[in-house]
Symmetry: C2
Subunit: 87 residues, 2 copies
DNA sequence: TATATTTGTGTACTATAATAAACAATTATG
DNA sequence: CATAATTGTTTATTATAGTACACAAATATA
């Protein structure tokens, strides 16, 4: 049986991504929070896989230059939805 | 000048994606809310580009079979981070 | 056109994400 | 080792996402 990805797993992975990106820029949780107008605690909780708001996630993604690729990813899903009739 | 993608634009696009996916399954906002244990109002606000929680977004994504690809996308970013030294 | 369904919006309330501050436990750095 | 910086965690408070209900506007269906 192939176990499917859970929402919890995605949140954990997103937290890990934030941590690795942050560390690659030699930033502390405090530094990142300050840069985004968020508290250190919000960063801390997000990195440990807790729930957060979309705004928080997108602010972090934007700071690490990932917003464009997210936007493209979303558009791709919408497009492939509309292209089904062509197959 | 190339105008960069904004957080607001991404939220709007995510809302549009939810709406188009939902309609492709012939579901009302109420139907989707019921299926996910969310209120119709939460779906309504998300589809109109308002802020939401990560849980809400991932529940919706999961319902439309998009969780796996989100997980892969996150992993890709982490991987390309670690592979920089190979170039 | 009439009726039913869906959607947009408002208000009041509840749950929880986010803030702020403090302190202990880790993890660098001298 | 010492000490400085960072991180994990707690408590209290504030802001806001989410719920529930109602009703009007818009859309679909008879």
């Amino acid at each position: 049986m192939i176990d499917s990805i859970t929402i919890k797993a995605v949140k954990s992975r997103l937290g890990e991504l934030c941590k690795s990106k942050r560390q690659s820029y030699d930033m502390s949780q405090q530094d990142l929070g300050d840069a985004l107008g968020l508290s250190r605690y919000t960063i801390q909780k997000f990195e440990s896989g807790k729930n957060a708001t979309l705004d928080t996630v997108l602010k972090i993604a934007n700071h690490f230059g990932l917003l464009q690729s997210i936007f493209k990813g979303v558009n791709q899903v919408v497009d492939e939805q509309n292209d089904i009739s062509l197959y």
